[in-house]
């Protein structure tokens, strides 16, 4: 084995999930002792590729070579044995137990004098394991408290435990999935120092990320994924944030809808003032000091890679009561304070003000998948006349309104009886939109409105959002699709790590400029 042999080599990997081609012809070479960044937007296929390398998925075609040898494995444990380890985005730790127990579980050793016992019953050599762990921790600078329950440790320390877990198993290739997503800037700094140390000791590191600034700070080499394919593969030294951003973003859908000029801006339908939210798990604040407004007759787009505080913002808008103890700042909606100090409005009251919501995750937050279209249409409208009459549901009223709505919003099949889970993604979304527009909202929240929706439906949904604006509603559009943001928004805010890092008016932003801000390129 020479230094020229790549530590990892992927040749023509393919992976398909149902109708979705998640990975297509993936080629990748990772030099030994380097830090290799895998970048791309959500759903670009980077995690799929890494999970194949780690043995969690089996490739449909193609080959995996580790240190020049062709390998294939049935489970992660075989990959671990071959020296490949992964730090998952959600840590694989058991909260009440200490670092030693968490690291050793599944790789226990015992002293020779217990040989006569079956392996599963030989007392674990905790002292020996601890000594070895302390040595590894010193060697790589991964200091930690070995005695405290891991749930009491900071997120950054928990991550070190995960890394140490891999080193304890003699991993030579470490895959880190979005390692900085939960870290504070200081913790990120420390992580980078540690990663450099690991490389200096001959380990190979793969980082899955979307933060371009961090890529520029730490990586030796960058591979860019887009729509399941590798679209770029370059040394970090010869590239720039701008170049990476344009590779990463690209164009996916050609949006023909040229929106009409924005009408007059009206009153503020949403006014968010210095809003902050403390994290429930420790670690950094998911939202920090947000201030913005949305006015009647305009669409405000929030651009950003997922996981930069958008979900928490939406939660706060809709469920202020559940968060009032952890939040600071105020939210006013349609002239009413919905979160101000100790006072917070109930969800039903907020929606009754005239708020329509297209939720981020329609399966989890928007639909009763096993129930018919009719009941899904009713959900959230069920307390209003004419659908509710003296505590009873007026099925006749629901039926006629729902029939009209699915006609108007082109939900197929035209059946009120079919279960919502049986509809295609586009038709599910149209059903939700039909329902939310039924209350003629004056403020509309549209979160990832066209995710997983076919092209025809995208067009239709965009038309509807524009029509709502034309009718005088204010729209808050949250999307990680830049095309969508650029095509629809009258103003664009970019969120990164819980803050608004850039603001643009219509026509000022380009995909590249947004991409740089979304990747933290403007942020220090």
């Amino acid at each position: 084995m020479t230094n020229e042999t790549p530590a990892v080599e992927l040749r023509g990997l393919q992976k398909r999930f149902g109708k979705v081609q998640a990975n297509e012809d993936i080629h990748l070479r990772v030099r030994r002792g380097s830090i290799h960044a895998i970048i791309g937007e959500n759903g670009a296929g980077k995690s799929t590729a890494m999970k194949m390398l780690y043995g969690m998925y089996r490739p449909d075609a193609g080959e995996i070579r580790v240190h020049g040898e062709q390998r294939s494995w049935a489970s992660p444990s075989e990959a671990i044995a071959a020296g490949i380890g992964m730090v998952h985005q959600h840590f694989m730790l058991a909260g009440p137990y200490n670092a030693v127990e968490n690291i050793v579980a599944g790789a226990e050793t015992s002293e020779p004098r217990w040989r006569w016992l079956p392996r599963a019953f030989r007392p674990v050599d905790a002292t020996g394991a601890r000594a070895r762990l302390e040595k590894l921790a010193r060697q790589y600078g991964l200091e930690m408290n070995f005695d405290a329950p891991v749930e009491e440790l900071a997120v950054g320390v928990q991550q070190r435990i995960e890394i140490l877990k891999l080193l304890y198993r003699d991993a030579s290739i470490l895959i880190l999935d979005e390692p900085t997503a939960v870290l504070t800037p200081q913790e990120t700094e420390e992580l980078f120092v540690n990663l450099r140390k690991l490389c200096a000791e001959g380990k190979t590191v793969l980082i899955i990320t979307h933060k371009l600034k961090e890529v520029m700070a730490i990586a030796d080499h960058v591979t860019v994924f887009r729509a399941g394919k590798v679209v770029g593969d370059i040394p970090r030294a010869g590239t720039s944030v701008e170049e990476l951003a344009s590779m990463m973003v690209g164009r996916k859908v050609n949006l023909t809808a040229a929106p009409p000029p924005p009408p007059e801006r009206g009153e503020a339908v949403l006014d968010v003032r210095e809003l902050s939210l403390a994290s429930s798990v420790g670690g950094k604040h998911p939202i920090q000091n947000l201030s913005f407004d949305v006015r009647a007759g305009e669409i405000v787009g929030i651009a950003g890679v997922e996981g930069n505080g958008q979900s928490q913002l939406l939660q706060l808008l809709l469920h202020p009561r559940a968060y009032r103890k952890r939040s600071r700042g105020e939210i006013h909606c349609l002239g009413q304070p919905i979160l101000a100090g100790k006072a917070a409005l109930a969800t039903a009251a907020i929606k009754a003000l005239g708020v329509g919501v297209i939720p981020e995750d329609r399966h989890r937050e928007g639909l009763l998948l096993e129930r018919p279209v009719l009941e899904n249409f009713l959900l959230g409208l069920h307390q209003r006349a004419p659908f509710a009459r003296r505590g009873f549901v007026s099925l006749k009223a629901v039926r006629s309104a729902a029939a009209r709505a699915i006609e108007e919003y082109d939900v197929r099949p035209r059946s009120l009886e079919v279960a919502a889970g049986g509809l295609s993604g586009g038709n599910q979304q149209k059903l939700i939109i039909a329902r939310e527009f039924e209350r003629s909202p004056r403020f509309m929240v549209a979160a990832q409105p066209t995710r997983g929706v076919d092209v025809g439906a995208i067009e239709f949904i965009h038309q509807r959002i524009l029509r709502a604006r034309a009718e005088g509603a204010g729209v808050l559009l949250v999307s990680s699709e830049l095309d969508e943001i650029l095509a629809l928004s009258d103003r664009i805010l970019v969120m990164y790590e819980g803050r608004i890092v850039a603001r643009f008016n219509r026509g000022e932003a380009t995909e590249q400029s947004l991409g740089i801000h979304m990747g933290g390129g403007s942020h220090s």
Binding site: I80, E101, A105, G106, R119, A120, P123
Partner: protein, 296 residues
């Protein structure tokens, strides 16, 4: 009656004796629930253990074969339970209820076939019963359970299977295998608890003789925060309440008023509700308790 030393000594003795079946059952429950599988079937597992122990002791004349048979019967029923909840991913509450019903039906059914009475088995001769051995054995098992849970690989796996099965799975240990083994071992130990009830505390099998002890063990498990030593202490406390209640029958305090034994009887259950609600201390269950595991 005065509360003299002899009485206290007697109370201590009977507390140790009546808490023995509870101790076995609570250890069985602990093993199962720490691995992430709810065990409301303890009652039924004890009951089949109690019956099998009497049947074997009557047949062979030895309490030791009785105990072995009790453990085996518990193991078989627990294997049915494990098949349902681990392999077929049935709801653990539902399947546990079914196991309890099955045990409540099967034991008198067999009793009738073997002894021509569905209500009770014949009495065991004295030398086919245990004198004191189960008490020792139960306490040795408590210590063994504690050290096994904390010092061996399999103990660690069980704890992880109940807390974060994904972590165990990514570390290369099969979660469902750990759970399978934990559930059937749990059944064997609960079966021993039943055996200690029928061939140690009493001298025959009677219909539904566990009379809620399986659920009381569950209460002790929660009250003991799913930890071996505190759970064993909870068994002693509940056993003491049981012994005191027998002792206090007919005893009058506060003038003419006698003490309603019912208030002592409900104490374990009341304490459990309060502990779960966080009114008295706080008991936290293993995080993945009750959730079937499947990858991805």
């Amino acid at each position: 009656m005065s509360l003299d030393f002899a009485m206290w000594e007697q109370m201590a003795g009977s507390t140790l004796r009546v808490s023995t079946p509870l101790l076995f059952a609570v250890l069985g429950g602990l093993l199962c629930e720490r691995a992430g599988v709810v065990n409301i079937a303890l009652e039924g597992l004890m009951l089949v253990g109690a019956f099998a122990a009497v049947a074997a002791a009557l047949a062979t004349g030895s309490p030791w074969t009785g105990a072995a048979a009790g453990a085996a019967a518990g193991l078989v029923f627990a294997a049915i339970y494990a098949l349902m909840v681990v392999r077929l991913r049935a709801n653990q509450i539902v399947a546990g209820t079914a196991i309890n019903m099955l045990a409540a039906g099967v034991t008198p059914f067999l009793c009738k076939i073997l002894y021509d009475s569905s209500g009770a088995s014949p009495n065991l001769p004295l030398d086919s019963r245990f004198a004191i051995a189960p008490v020792w054995f139960a306490w040795i098992l408590v210590v063994a359970c504690w050290s096994w849970l904390h010092y061996t690989p399999s103990g660690l796996w069980v704890r992880f299977a109940g807390e974060n099965p994904e972590a165990l799975d990514t570390a290369g240990v099969s979660v469902n295998r750990v759970r399978w083994l934990a559930v059937i071992a749990s059944g064997a130990i609960a079966g021993l608890g039943g055996a200690s009830l029928s061939i140690f505390l009493s001298s025959s099998f009677t219909r539904n003789m566990t009379a809620g002890r399986g659920f009381m063990a569950l209460a002790a498990l929660i009250f003991g925060k799913w930890k071996p030593i505190p759970a064993a202490a909870a068994c002693l406390l509940f056993g003491f309440a049981d012994a005191a209640q027998i002792r206090l029958q007919g005893v009058t305090l506060w003038g003419e008023q006698s003490v309603p034994v019912q208030f002592i009887q409900i104490l374990p259950y009341l304490l459990t509700v309060l502990v779960l609600a966080g009114v008295v201390g706080k008991s936290r269950s293993p995080k993945s308790l009750g959730l079937p595991f499947h990858r991805g």
